[in-house]
Amino acid sequence: MTSAMQLSGMLAATDPPGTAETALFWVLAPVTVVAACGLLFARKAVHAALSMALVMIGLGVAYLVHDAPFLGAVQVFVYTGAVMMLFLFVVMLIGVSAADSLVETIKGQRLVAVVLGLGLVLLLTGAISQATLDETVGLVAVNEDPGNVTMIAFRIFDDYVWAFELTGALLITAALGAMVLTHRERLTPRTTQRQLAADRIAEGAVKAPLPAPGVFARHNAVDTPALLPDGTPSEASVNRVLRARGQVRSAEETAAPTAVIQSEFAEPLGDGTEEGGSR
C-alpha cells in the first residue's frame, strides 16, 4: 500500500499539470487510441479483446495521474482482470476462428458509420474547446488529509448509500440472470444404467470379449487369425490395425503344417496300409 501510494504520489502531477504529465499524456494517448482502433479493424475477436485490455490498462494509468489511485487499481483489477478475461473466455467458448463477415447487409452502412463517428469527434472536441473551465483545483489536498479511499468511502456510505444498496441488488440480479440465461433444461429423462444395458443388448453387438488370435503348432503370434469351428478364419480375432496395414498372416498358411502333422498321425507308416492306423 505504501509503495502504491508512493507510485501514485510520483504520478500525481501538480495542478496545473506539469511537463511530466504532458509527456505521459503524449505517450499514453496515442497508445490508447491506436489500441482502441484495433477494436475497429481487428479481424478476429481475440485480437480485439487484447487491444481492449491495453486500452483498459492505459486508462488505469490515466486515473493514477488524475489523483485517483483507488480507481486506477480498481480499473486494472475489475476491467483488465475480470471483465476482459470474461470476454476472452466467451470468445474461446464461441470459437476463436469465427472471423467477422465482410458482407454489408445495409448498403453503405460502413461509410455512413465512419462519417458519423468523425462527426461525433468534431462535435465533442468543438464543444470541449469552446468550454470555459475553472482553474484546476486538483485532489492533492483531499488525498492528503482524509485520504483517497477514506474520502470515497465517506461518499459511498453516506451520501450515496442508497445507490450503493441498489448496486448490490443489481449485482445479485445480474448473477441470477446469467444463471437463468445459460441454464439448459433437460428435455429427455436421464438414461439409467439398466436402460443402457438393455439398449446394448437390443442393438445386437458382440457383448463377450473378442476371440483370441489363433494358436497353431508353429505360430501363435497376434497376427494369425483363429479358426472358427467350420474352419474359416475369424476376422474379429486379429487387431484391426494389423488388418488395415495388411500384416495379417493367412490362417491356411499356418494351419497347413498342422494338417500335415495330423495326416502323419493318421497314417504313421505312410504306405497306405491299413493295419497300423491308430485313430
Binding site: D15, T22, A49, A68
Partner: protein, 99 residues
C-alpha cells in the same frame, strides 16, 4: 498543458467505441465497443473530478464500473445463449423479431 486534453482523449475514445458498435457485425466486438464508451465516460468523469477538486466524480465512475460489470455478465450470457441456439455470434443472424 491543461487537463482538458484528457477530455479530448475521452471524446476520441467514445467516438471510436460508437463507430465500433455501428460497424462491426460480431456481437462480442459490438459489446466491447459499448465497454469502450463506458470507459471513455469514466475518464471524463475522473478528469472533471480533478478539475473541480471534488471526489464525487470518482465515486460516480466507481458506480459506472459496477453497473458495467453487471451488464457484462448479463450481456455475455445472452450472447452465449443465442450462440447455442443459432450457432452464430453475428448480430445480423438474430433477426426473427423483425417479422
Amino acid at each position: 498543458m491543461r487537463p482538458e486534453y484528457w477530455l479530448y482523449l475521452s471524446a476520441v475514445l467514445f467516438a471510436i467505441g460508437a463507430t465500433t458498435v455501428l460497424v462491426r457485425r460480431n456481437a462480442i466486438i459490438v459489446f466491447m465497443g459499448i465497454e469502450l464508451m463506458l470507459n471513455a465516460a469514466n475518464l471524463s468523469l475522473v478528469t472533471f473530478s480533478r478539475i473541480h477538486g471534488d471526489i464525487d466524480g470518482q465515486v460516480i465512475a466507481l458506480f459506472v464500473m459496477l453497473v458495467a460489470a453487471a451488464e457484462v455478465v448479463v450481456g455475455l450470457a445472452i450472447i452465449v445463449s443465442i450462440f447455442r441456439t443459432r450457432r452464430s455470434a453475428s448480430v445480423d443472424d438474430a433477426n426473427l423479431l423483425k417479422y
